[in-house]
């Protein structure tokens, strides 16, 4: 299998907020398709996404995306034209219709031809299944619909690099499934960086995954490789194993433990979440029943 070409590379990205290292020498590379960014709260995921989306410049380090260097004004402009960014808590202009809001974003992306722009707005609203409500004011839409409006705004202009910060937070299971489908489609032919707390999202959508903790990259590879980290390190027991890094009671009443299993333990098939938990420092992750 050939390795897909790299579209985004970052080298030693660092950013401090006061005395805190939000990012501490982050280096990574992204390819086309959906890359998941996992990490606990405060790991620096949002900060990394904001840096890659050119919202804030790093204190140190550099990155290029789609061949553009955002360190220069020309490169930053070129990258912004090729960028779709969905922040963690997207804002809306509630009195705008869905169409007007996405059209507004399209103008800010400098899509100047009115007819072509309107076609593009209709296309992305169709793509996120909002064609029927495009004339409705955003304040009249449900939370899930608003989130799709935000995704449509990120997708408008057919960006080559899509940065999505926890887009499925707050959505009900049905909406989350629908959103996963949309992100999967968006990942076809694009570079998508998806920040999430949901390992299921990564398992279902991502061809690569980056684990971030305390501003540092702890893992970069495929979901299978992250899962493989837990091979032989997940076992079940009748009681919580005190030696386990993490353990929790499952639906069957037994405990699922992650860590270094005792002799003769009943090993279980590892999941992506197991690999993720093992990747994090035990100090930063405590899961109990």
């Amino acid at each position: 299998m050939t390795t897909p070409p790299t579209t985004v590379t970052a080298t030693g990205l660092s950013l401090r907020y006061g005395g805190t290292h939000a990012l501490d020498g982050v280096s990574l590379r992204l390819t086309r398709g959906v890359t998941g960014l996992l990490g606990p709260n405060g790991a620096g995921k949002t900060t990394l996404l904001r840096v890659l989306a050119t919202a804030v410049p790093p204190d140190r380090g550099e990155f290029t995306a789609l061949g553009h260097d955002p360190g220069t004004s020309a490169g930053r402009l070129a990258l912004r034209r090729a960028l779709g960014y969905l922040p963690q808590t997207p804002g809306f202009h509630p009195d705008f219709t869905a169409f007007a809001f996405v059209d507004y974003v399209a103008i800010l992306k400098e899509l100047t031809d009115r007819a072509a722009r309107h076609r593009e707005v209709r296309r992305v609203l169709d793509a996120v299944d909002l064609a029927d409500v495009r004339g409705k004011r955003i304040k009249r839409l449900s939370g899930g619909m608003r989130q799709r409006v935000a995704l449509a705004a990120a997708l408008v202009g057919d960006p080559g690099f899509l940065v999505l910060d926890e887009p499925t937070v707050g959505l009900d299971p049905e909406q989350r499934m629908r959103f996963r489908g949309l992100i999967a489609e968006a990942g076809e032919g694009r570079t998508v960086l998806l920040s999430t707390h949901q390992t299921e999202d990564v398992a279902m959508l991502c061809h690569r995954v980056v684990v971030l903790a305390q501003g540092r990259v702890r893992f970069e590879g495929t979901p299978a490789e992250l899962t493989a980290r837990a091979a032989g390190r997940v076992w079940s027991s009748a009681e919580r194993d005190p030696a386990a890094l993490a353990g929790w009671r499952t639906g069957t009443g037994t405990f699922r433990n992650v860590g270094d299993p005792p002799e003769g333990a009943h090993l279980l098939e590892p999941t992506l979440e197991d690999g993720y938990l093992l990747t994090l420092d035990s100090e930063s992750r405590t899961v109990t029943a």
Binding site: P5, R81, L83, Y104, V105, K109, T112, D158
Partner: protein
């Protein structure tokens, strides 16, 4: 952890073509169009725009007789105040539009868009232009309609006409700038209150010791005080310089907003310098007036108007007007001819000199009374014409035909002459009773009262009023013949009102006539 760095050579599919500077401008214009549409849909803007258009339409529709003879150097200034409410609405709404992102938390998303914040600010500024253009269209329409009237007098000033639209534009730009300076929703209202107080202060200043300082205010209210108009060259309003000053201010405020939002490009810096230069040039131009020459010209026009007037002759009478009023001289002549046609004796052939006069001794366009002329045969006429000014002028002309001089009215005319004057005015009028009511200060046709004239009014006793009323109830030809027949008696100060009634065959008022009424 992998930290391999590779050179990126690939680009994503379906990206927009790289766009040049032209399309960047196009994007700003597209956003300006979008924001302009949003502005037009804002309720305050929509309501005040409709009110403005409606008010202007009503003003043009429901007019009095004087409106047939609009003095264009006041018409142009009268276009300035009506758009003020629209300007305030635009200020509030453009401010809200510029703060929209901050209010609804879209700053984070929009800050990573290709269009930089300063270009968005430029688009907000440009979005206010259509409303300024709409105002200009209304102003132009209003002025054109007045200017096309056959009786239109003089000429307007493009500088004065530009003030309304420029104030609207400046309000819109100020709203955008305020959003950068004080990003609070209440800031526009506070600003409007402060601006109003400043304009009132500027008006006070302009009417006191430092009239030129008042011109730093966008709109100068002084000079629109309800007095009679004066020739354009006596106004002393540096309208063109003021328009340039406003234009410079608009540009400077725009540049300030762009600089504050990060648009520190060479072009913006150059535009800022140019805008400041234009503003300074306009401000200085406003101040450097030759006030001594202006005062001298005003004095000449007030005291020796013949030096600046041109005259024409009609049927032996002379009609002298300031240059802008030349077109009204025929109307004056028609009135004189009409009044004279009802007279008798030598008055039917009398030559009068109609002299247009103004009084600038108390200031320009302030309410002041002209002193009646003591020169025999001279009739004064003011700078307003049409409507009530026509019978008022007729009173002046009739006074001269009957009493010889205008200043006869300054002495008690408790005799037949007042009745004769009123007959000359009303006996040839198509709607005499209505005109009688209109020309009297108390709008009545009974009792004693003052009849308006271009200079001193004519006092009527209740007996004189009663006799005039009786005359107007009789056949016009019959009374005209009697007036001509008894002309010498009716124009004599020795003939009483009662004797005049007898001579004219109408009922003699009962009781003793009081001349002190």
């Amino acid at each position: 952890m992998s930290a391999t760095i590779t050179t990126v050579t690939d680009s994503a599919p379906g990206l927009p073509e790289t766009q040049g500077p032209g399309s960047r401008t196009g994007a700003v214009l597209a956003l300006a169009r979008f924001e302009a549409r949003e502005l037009l849909l804002q309720i305050p803007v929509l309501v005040f725009l409709l009110l403005y258009v409606g008010f202007t339409t009503a003003r043009l529709t429901f007019q009095d007789g004087m409106s047939d003879y609009p003095v264009l150097n006041t018409v142009d200034r009268n276009t300035q105040t009506a758009p003020l409410f629209l300007a305030v609405a635009l200020l509030v709404c453009s401010n809200a539009a510029a703060l929209r992102s901050r209010k609804h938390g879209t700053v984070q998303q929009f800050d990573v868009m290709a269009m930089e914040p300063w270009r968005r600010v430029l688009a907000h500024v440009l979005s206010t232009v259509p409303l300024a253009v709409l105002t200009a269209v209304v102003v132009a329409g209003e002025f054109t309609r007045e200017a096309l009237k056959p009786g239109a007098i003089g000429h307007g000033s493009v500088g004065e006409l530009a003030v309304g639209p420029l104030v609207v534009l400046m309000a819109g730009i100020t709203g955008v700038l305020l959003a950068r300076l004080v990003p609070m929703p209440f800031a526009p209202m506070l600003f409007v209150v402060a601006a109003y107080l400043l304009m009132v202060l500027a008006t006070d200043v302009s009417e006191s010791d430092e009239p030129q300082v008042g011109w730093l205010s966008p709109m100068v209210f002084s000079g629109i005080s309800g007095g009679d108009p004066v020739p354009s060259d006596l106004l002393g309003r540096p309208a063109a310089w003021h328009a340039l000053y406003l234009l410079g201010l608009c540009a400077a405020l725009t540049c300030a907003a762009l600089l504050l939002s990060g648009g520190r490009t060479r072009g913006v810096k150059a535009a800022t310098a140019l805008a400041l230069a234009v503003t300074a040039a306009g401000a200085i131009g406003q101040f450097t007036r030759d006030t001594a020459a202006l005062e001298a010209a005003r004095k000449t026009a007030s005291t020796t108007p013949q030096k600046v007037q041109s005259c024409t002759e009609h049927d032996g009478s002379t009609y002298c007007a300031f240059p802008e009023w030349k077109g009204v001289r025929d109307d004056w002549a028609a009135v004189v001819e009409r009044v004279r046609s009802a007279a008798g004796g030598s008055a039917t052939e009398a030559s009068v000199t109609v002299r247009q006069r103004i009084d600038t001794s108390g200031g320009i366009e302030v309410d002041s009374a002209l002193n009646p002329s003591a020169t025999p045969g001279v009739v004064t006429v003011g700078t307003r014409w049409g409507g009530n000014r026509v019978p008022e002028f007729a009173v002046g002309a009739a006074t001269v035909l009957v009493a010889g001089t205008e200043d006869a009215t300054t002495r008690a005319m408790c005799d037949a002459r007042a009745v004769t004057i009123m007959w000359l005015v009303l006996g040839t009028d198509p709607t005499p009773m209505a005109t009688f009511r209109d020309v009297r200060l108390d709008d009545s046709t009974t009792g004693s009262g003052l009849v308006l004239a271009p200079t001193n009014g004519l006092s009527l006793t209740s007996h004189q009023t009663a006799v005039v009323g009786e005359l107007l109830a009789r056949p016009r030809a019959e009374i005209t013949a009697l007036v001509k027949k008894h002309w010498s008696e009716l124009t004599s100060a020795r003939t009483s009102t009662a004797e005049a009634a007898k001579l004219l065959g109408v009922a003699v008022p009962q009781g003793v006539e009081s001349c002190d009424e």
